[in-house]
């Protein structure tokens, strides 16, 4: 009768091991993010926890690095540039990507796989090749060192996210609904705005958020195409990391972590919204 008990023990040990392993991997995934946040409140310009911080002495903490950001016009300009570029390129990518995804989702699309592969390719083409090509080409048409040039580059890089998310959403979309709408007398445009759009909106918004995040984090095309007037947050961080990681960079990083957490939560909420809880597979 010791058999079940033994198996029980073994199961517990196995569970313990697998949990331990999972915790270790989560630690690897999250520790880098978790460490940066408290260090950004360090009163000293060091990257380790001072004894004052470890004893939770309020003197060990300070907002000085955040004040640094607030007082530095370069960071302000970078935030403005980043938002301007990300919002514009997200808008373009979403409009173009959604249209294309609607086309791709139709059964009568010729060479569907081929076009799909082309439209997603900016995701996998090595960024240096893409940025290098744009560098020469955009320079020759006067788009280098302009906001527009970077917006176009970021639109290109954001398009695959919209296309992927939208085709996934549309593949679950019942086209009979449109037929029903038109048989009830709705013209195609009305049908689009009253039936299609509300149903695919969550997918569209999450695609847009992905494109936004991609642009907001992009640095290579900015390095190639951007002049001093196009400095974005990642561009500022890039030179900060290469020259000197100041605690100010940690403060910016913390703000970005908060920001990306909000984006992630938004996407997750959208997912819950458009997939019923029972069909939780992705």
């Amino acid at each position: 009768m010791s058999e079940p008990a033994k198996r029980f023990d073994r199961a517990r040990i196995e569970k313990g091991i697998s949990t331990g392993f999972a915790v270790a991997i989560f630690f690897f995934l999250l520790a880098p993010l978790a460490v940066i946040i408290p260090l950004s409140f360090n009163a000293e310009p060091y990257f380790t926890f001072t004894s004052k911080m470890l004893t939770l002495d309020p003197d060990g903490f300070s907002l000085r690095w955040y004040r640094d950001i607030a007082e530095n016009p370069q960071w302000f300009q970078a935030i403005g540039n980043s938002l301007l570029i990300a919002i514009s390129s997200t808008f373009l990518a979403t409009v173009l990507g959604t249209l294309a995804a609607i086309g791709l989702a139709r059964s009568n699309m010729p060479f569907r796989d081929f076009f799909m592969a082309i439209l997603i390719s900016p995701l996998v083409v090595p960024i240096v090749i893409a940025a290098g090509g744009m560098y020469f080409f955009y320079s020759s048409i006067g788009l280098a060192q302009t906001h527009l040039g970077i917006i176009l580059a970021h639109t290109t890089l954001g398009v695959p996210f919209v296309v992927i998310t939208m085709t996934a959403t549309l593949s679950g979309f019942d086209r009979n609904l449109i037929k029903a709408a038109s048989s009830l007398g709705a013209d195609p445009i009305t049908a689009f705005f009253r039936v299609t759009l509300p149903l695919v909106a969550p997918g569209m918004i999450s695609g847009a958020l992905f494109a936004f995040a991609a642009s907001f984090d992009e640095v290579v095309t900015v390095l190639f195409l951007g002049g001093p007037d196009q400095r974005t947050i990642p561009r500022q961080m890039w030179s900060g990391i290469r020259e000197q990681i100041s605690p100010t960079i940690l403060a910016v990083a913390t703000l970005l972590i908060v920001f990306s957490s909000l984006l992630l939560l938004a996407v997750e909420m959208l997912r819950r919204w458009h997939t019923p809880p029972s069909a939780s597979g992705r």
């Binding site: 302000f76 919002i87 320079s139 280098a144 959208l270």
Partner: protein
Amino acid sequence: MGRTTTIIIAAAAAVVILAGVLLFMLGRGSETAVNDLDKEMSDMALPSTDAAAPGAAPAGTLAGRSLVVVSWGGAYTKSQIEAYHKPFEAKTGVKINSVDYTGGIAEIKVQVEAKNVNWDVVDLEIADAQRACDEGLLEKFDAGILPPAPDGTPAVQDFVPNGITPCAVTSIIFSHIVAYDSTKFGTNPPKTLADFFNVKDFPGKRGLRKTNPKINLELALRADGVPGDQVYQVLSTKEGVDRAFKKLDSIKNNVIWWEPGSQPPQLLADGQVTMTTAFNGRIFDAQVTEGKPFVIIWDGQLQELDVLAIVKGTKNLDAATQFIAFATDTQRLADQAKWIAYGPARRSSLPLVGKHAIKGVEMGPHMPNAPQNSANALQIDFLWWADHQEELNQRWSAWLAK
């Protein structure tokens, strides 16, 4: 639930957009304000976008024009803004937009080949200027318009040797030196370049410039005992190059590689290295403005010239030419030396060099071309490098990658 979420997201998006526009305008606004008030004394040079020419009635035909002047940023650009840009703006009414870059001629080449030139004047290392000139990327410069020294010496004789080339005019002499953190070596500090390669007696990591073989090869040979006047002769042979690389091999695993000029003082300050090569001005800045315990080994310093040149095809050729002539006159070059420890390229400027504009330190002893510093100096031979750069770059990047 659905509707509420939509509203929340729409509201969030609206807030983000509004905040973005607001921040963007705010960023612009504060930047202008800083330039107008000219209170920005930080190390970061701001592009002076909207700053109007201060006071003084604009003179001549250039008033209202604008120039894009490209330079290395940081304390160096700051010194140029103070010594060249502001007085030039006041005198001519030309508005100068200062732009930072990290050196090299890629940007210039792309602009010229694309026939879309938006830089006017560029501050270049002389070897790069030579190459750009050979490739037809720079406007030819008529040295005849350079003003003579106050005592009447013609410009050609007033400038340092090789200071005026067909496309460029030298503004400063800077120096590649070895610097160390004096707190790390106690009573037996390093004194020579050979000590830089002696990791046993002078422990710790070394900093070297990663960008190209220039400087590093000369440094290795000089540390290996090659006299200054024979360095390029030796480097012209395969054996000489091998010798230099072999010397570098001896510390290869103890090196931290730097790229931007702001990095070496930082590496020293963070204790990542105990000794590093650096631009002398950057170390001066750390010593004087930040009070760091850094020491420069002047012995065996490698002197190089930095020039101003005009990008081929600029739409502002007159203004750019006049700017260079103005910026490299005796007084301007002397003024610049008040802000940074780089030597003026005109002999007549040296006696006018005074004290640091903010810290009041006597600048003379910190100049690379001060007699006590330049006893064992080597002038980097930019013509030699123009010829050998390509093959040695190839070997350098192969050596680095292995």
